[in-house]
Amino acid sequence: MDSGQERKALRQPRVWRPGGPAEAWMLKHTFGGDGVFISGGTLLRTQWESGGAPVPAHLIDLSGLDGFKGIARAPEHLMIGALTLLATVRNDPLIAAYFPLLTEAVRSIAAPSIRNLGTIGGNVVSTVGDALPALLVYGARLEMYDGAQTRDIAAADWLSEARFRQGTPLLLQRIQLPYELSKESDVPGEDSGPPQPPSAKRFGAFHKIGRREAFTPSIVTAAVTGAWDKEGRIQGLRIAAGGGQTVPHRLTEAEAVLEGKRPEPEALAALYEAVLADYDPCGDVYAGADYRRVTAANLIAASIWREAGGARGGDVMLLNRTASGGRWRIRPDGPGKVTGKLAYLTDMARPDMLVGLVLRSPHPHARIAGIRTEGARRLPGVHAVLTHLDVPGLNGFGIARQDQPVLCADRVRYIGDAVAAVAAESLEIAEQALRLIEVDYEPLAVIDSPAKALAAGAPALHPQGNILHRRYYKRGDMEAAFAACAHIVEETYVTPRQMHTYMETEGGLFVPEQNGRLTVYAPTQHGFMDRLQLSRILAIPETAIRVVSSPIGGSFGGKDELNVQPYGALLAVQTGRPVKLHNSRLESVRAGLKRHPMTLRMKTGIDADGRLLAHEASIVADTGAYATLGAEVLNFTVEHVIGPYRFASVEVEALSVYTNNGMSGEFRGFGGNQAIFALEGQMDRLAERCGMDPWEFRRFNMREKTDPGPLGQPIAQSDGAAQVWRALADSSLWRERQGLSARAAAAGADAPWLRTGVGAAFIMHGGGLGVGIPDPAGGRLRLAADGRIEASFSYEEFGQGLLSALELMLIETFDAAADDIRILIGDTDLVPDSGSSTASRATSMMWKSLRNMRAPFTAAMLEAAGQALDRPPDTLRLGPGGIYDAGTGMAGAAGATAAVHGVHTEPLLGYAELAAAVEKPIRTETSFHFPTTDKTAAVGAHFLYTYSAVAVKVEVNTLTGRVRVVDQFHAVAAGPVINPQGFVGQIEGGGSMALGYALTEEAMMEGGHYLIRNLDTYLIPTVADQRGTVSVLAIEELPDEDTHGPRGIGEVGSVGLAPAIAAAVAQATGIRVSRLPIEPRLLLRRPAFLDKAVSIK
C-alpha cells in the first residue's frame, strides 16, 4: 500500500441531511461517485481508516428519513425500516418470535456498540452482510426507491443481480419479512394482541463461522429453515449461505434434494454433496474456498440431522482471592485505571506542542535515489522536516546492535523503514506535509523469506550478509546415538509471526526544557537504555536527557526497543517545541516488532524402553530487516529446544536471517514459545510411537535436581521440574484425560461431531538475560523529608503489577503501612539503574534488592530513632506509621492478632518526626548483577529457571475444524508468590496470548507487505474465546539453601499452552498438527451420520 494513501488525511466531507427519499436520491444522482449514502457509517469509517476506500466529498446522511426506522406489523409481513439499528433488530421480541434466525444472525454481527450505530439497511446493501442468509431463507423482500418510485424486489433476486449492477443509485427503504404461519387466524392485525409464534414443527438454524468466537469477520454463514410434516418428511426447506466476500445465495439445488424426503443417511449424503456443488464461496488468505465449502456442507447437513434426531462452571482457582487473604490487595495504580484518571504518556499534551509524524517506506526493499523536502517545508504550519541529513549523531539504533537507521539515507529494507519526520501545528498539516515529501525509490528485489535470503547469489541486506546470527551446539556422538535408537521421529514445526497487540500504540511527548535538557515521556522497558541510545543519536550527553517511561498501556516486549523516540527527540530538539507522536494502529502494525516466525526441523530418537538418546534440531528464524535482539532470541531458542530432558547426544544448529519482512524482535517468551511448541510436539510423538503415556514419558526422560542446565551449564538447583510434573499428574484435568479414550472422546450423542481431548506440556523457562550479557540490578531506599519510606527502582509498570508487588514487599519487609511508602519508578532523573523490566526479572531483582537493603536501612533508621528518642536502637523496631518499642510492640501477624483483640499501640516516633529529627539523610543503595551461570557457558545460558506444567481440555468441532479451549490447569514452580493477584493475572493473561498463538493469530505477509492491517483481520482472543476455567497452582517451596527467592512468572504462562492445545487436539481427533495457528481445514471430518443408518424420529 502506498504510504501517501495510507497516511491520507481524513478529508472533511460535507454532510447533507435530506428530509426524504426523493431529496436523498437527487443528491446521490447529483454527486455521483463523489457522494455516498451513510446511515451508521461503521463500515464506511472502517474502510476510510484502513485506506480501503477514499473519504468522499459528500456524505448523504439518511438518518433524517424517519419513515424508515423501526419495526412494524403489517397484515402479511413484518416491516423493518432500513434505518433500524442492528441493536433494535437484535432485541426485538417480534423478530425473535417469528424470525429467530435473524435475531441469531444479527447477534453475531460485530459487537453491541457497533450495533448501536450500524443499521440493518447498511448490512443488507453491503451485499455481504451476515444478516442476509437469514433474510434469504425467510423470503425477505426489499423496498427500493429508484428516484421515481418504490418497488419491492425479492432479496434473493436483488443480491443475484448485485454483482452485475453498475452505478444506478438505489435507496433501500424497508425490508419485508412475510409471516409463515400454520393458521390464518395467527396472522396479527394492527390491533390484535401479540401474534402467535410459528408452529413448533418448524425448525431452523443459523451458523456463523469465523476465525474466533466473537466479533469476527465471517468465513461461512449459513441459515436453514424448514418444517416436518406428519410423516417426518421435510417441507419447505430453505438454505442460504454466504460468508466473507461471498454474496449470500440460496442453495436451491441442495434444497430440492431433500424436499419431501425423510432425512435418511442417503438423503443427507445427497444434501451434503449438493451443498458442495451448489455453494460457491470466495476463498481468501484466511480460508480457502474448499474449506468453506466443506464447512458449509457439514453445518447444513448437521443442522438437519440434529433436528431430526436429536457452562461454564465456577472458576476453581487454587491461587485466588480467597486463598490469598489480605495479600490480595488493591493495586496502587488501580483507582487511576478504573476511573480513567491515570494519564498514560500518550495522553499527555502541552498547549504549545507540535504533532510529529514519520514518513515510512512504501517498499519492502528499495534504493533511495533522492529525497526532496522543499514542498513540505514551505507548507504553513510545518516547523521541521527531517531526513538522514538532520541526525546529528549516530544514524542507527538497536539495543544489541545499532544497524537500524533512524532515518534511511540510501536504502530502505522494510515497509516500516523511516525516511523522514515532520513536526507541524496539527495532525492534518503534518499529514499533508508527509504527502509533499518526494522520495525517489528504485525498487529492489524483495527477499521475503529466509530461504531467499540464504540462496546463493542473494543480494546482501547488510554488510556482513544476510545472516544476523548463527548458533551451534553439540554434545555426544550423534551418529552412534541415532544408530542405537529403536524409534526416531522427524518433524518440521512452523510458527507464526505473532503481534504483541498492546492496546496502547507507541507514542509519547518530547519536551525541550528551559535549562537545555530534553525530557522524553515515552513507554519503554528500560529507560536508561533509551537514554543511552538517544544520547548517541542526538550527540548529547546522557545526563542531558531525562526519560520518563511509565505507566505503559501494555508492552509484552514490543516496546523494549526504540520506536517513536528518535523522531520525537530529534523534532523537539530541532524545533525547540514540545512534540507529540502517537502511532495509529496501522503504523504500529507496519513498523512494530513481532514474534519471530521460525521453522524448526527436529529429529529425535529413543531406545526400545522409551529413553531419549539423540536430539537434532535445525532452526531458521526470520528476523526481518534489522537486528534488535534477534540474536539473543535465537540463543534462547537453542537453549529451550533442549529444555528439561536428558539427551545424551544433542546437536542444534540455528540461524537468524535478515529479510525484507517486518521487524521481528523481543516478545514475551523470547524464543521459548517456538522452541517448546516443537520440543513438546516431539515428546508427544515419541511417546505415542513407543506406546507410553505422554506424561509418563516425560517423567522417564526428565532432568533430575542436580543435573546441569540444557547447555550443560551449572544452574540454581530446585525440585521444580518434579514438583510441577507431579502436580499435573494429580490434577483432575489430567485424570479426566485417562477416561477419554479416542472413541469416548466424542461428546454427547446429539453432537457427535464435537470431540474432546486433553493435552499437556512441560516447560522449563529461563529468567534474566543470561551469562555474558550486562544484566545490572539494584535500587535505593531512603527516608524522605516528609517521612515516607521511598523506594526507587528504574523499572516500568506496563500492567504486570510491579507497583503492587513492590508495595507488598515493602510492607512485609519493614512491617510498614501502605501510607508509609512512596514508590518511584520509570524516571531516569529520580531512580538508580536497576536494569531492564524484561526477561521475567524485575520482581526477582526487587526482592533481592530489598533483601540486601533490609538490614542496613533498618539499622540506620533505628540508629537515628535511638538518637531522637535517647534510647538504645536495639530496643526499637519499625512498624506501621513509625518506630515502636521492640519489647511491647507486636509485629506482623502478632500485631494483626493484637488489633483484633483491641490492643492498640501508637508508635513512639512517627516517620515524619523521625525525618525531621535526623541530621544526615537515611539512605541505602544496592547494586549487583542478575545471578548468572559459569562464565565459560555459552552466551545467554541461564542460571535461574521457572518450571511449569500445563494441561488443557479442548473441544474440536469436526464440522468446522474449529478448536475451542475449555479448561486449563497451570502448575508453576517459581518460588514464593510475591503478589497473588499479579501471579494469577500473569498466568491467565499469558495463557490467553498462547491461546491466540495456537488458534487465531498470524500477522501474514506477502512480498514484504503485511496482509493484516488492523484488529479487524488480526484476531486476538475475545472474552468469548476464553470460556472455561483456569486453575493456577503455585508451588512455592524452594530448597532450604536457595538464596534466589522468587523466579520470574511474567513469561512462562505464555509458553506452554500452545503445545498443550496441540496435544489435546491430537487426543480429540488423532491429528497431530505441526504448524501454528492450527488450521481448521485439517480438522474437518465427514459427518458419520451421512454414512450409517440412524433412527430419525
Binding site: 472502517t46 438518518s63 487511576g336 497487540t501 483456569v1030
Partner: protein
Amino acid sequence: MIDKSIMAPEAYKPLAFRVNGTDATLDVPPAKRLLSILRDDLLLTGTKRSCDIGRCGACMVLINGEPVNACLAMAYQCEGKEITTIEGVRGAEEGVLHPIQQAFLEEGGYQCGYCTPGMVISVVALLAVNRAPSNEDIEEALSGNLCRCTGYGGILRAVARAVELGKEEAHAGNEAGSGADVG
C-alpha cells in the same frame, strides 16, 4: 437542481451536545470523530485511542445510555445527544467509585489498564438493562472490548462481583433510595 434553502450541507454548524451532564457547544467539522473531540478538544483522555475502527472498545462511551465506539461516531451523529465517558462514571456521591469500578479494583479486573475505561463503560451499559446477566449475556456485551493483558479472567470475576454489589446496593437502596450515577 438542489434547493439550497432546504439542503445546505451542515459543514459549519456548531455541535451542541451534553458531555457527562454538562452542555457543550463546539465548532468542529461534522465528520470529526467523537474520540478526537473528547481527547483533543475536551481533554477527556480517559477515553482511549487504540484501533480507530471500532474493533477494540478502548474508546467506548455511552451515547444516550447505549455503548458506542467513539472512534466511529462522528460529530453530526452526536448532535443533541448525551455522552457519558469514563469521567462521568462515579458512585452515588462525588469522589466515590461506581460499584462496577469498585469490583474491578477488588478483583484485579485490569492490568495495564488501557482497555479498562472502555470495559467499565460496557459493563455499566450491560448492568443498566440486565442486573443478573448470564454468561452468554456477558460474552455478548463484552465481545467488542479487547483486553490483551488479563485473559479476561479478572474481568469476568469483576463483573460477577459487580452483580453482587448491585444486589447489595439495590437492597440498601430500597430504604435509602441511593444509586450510582453515570451522568
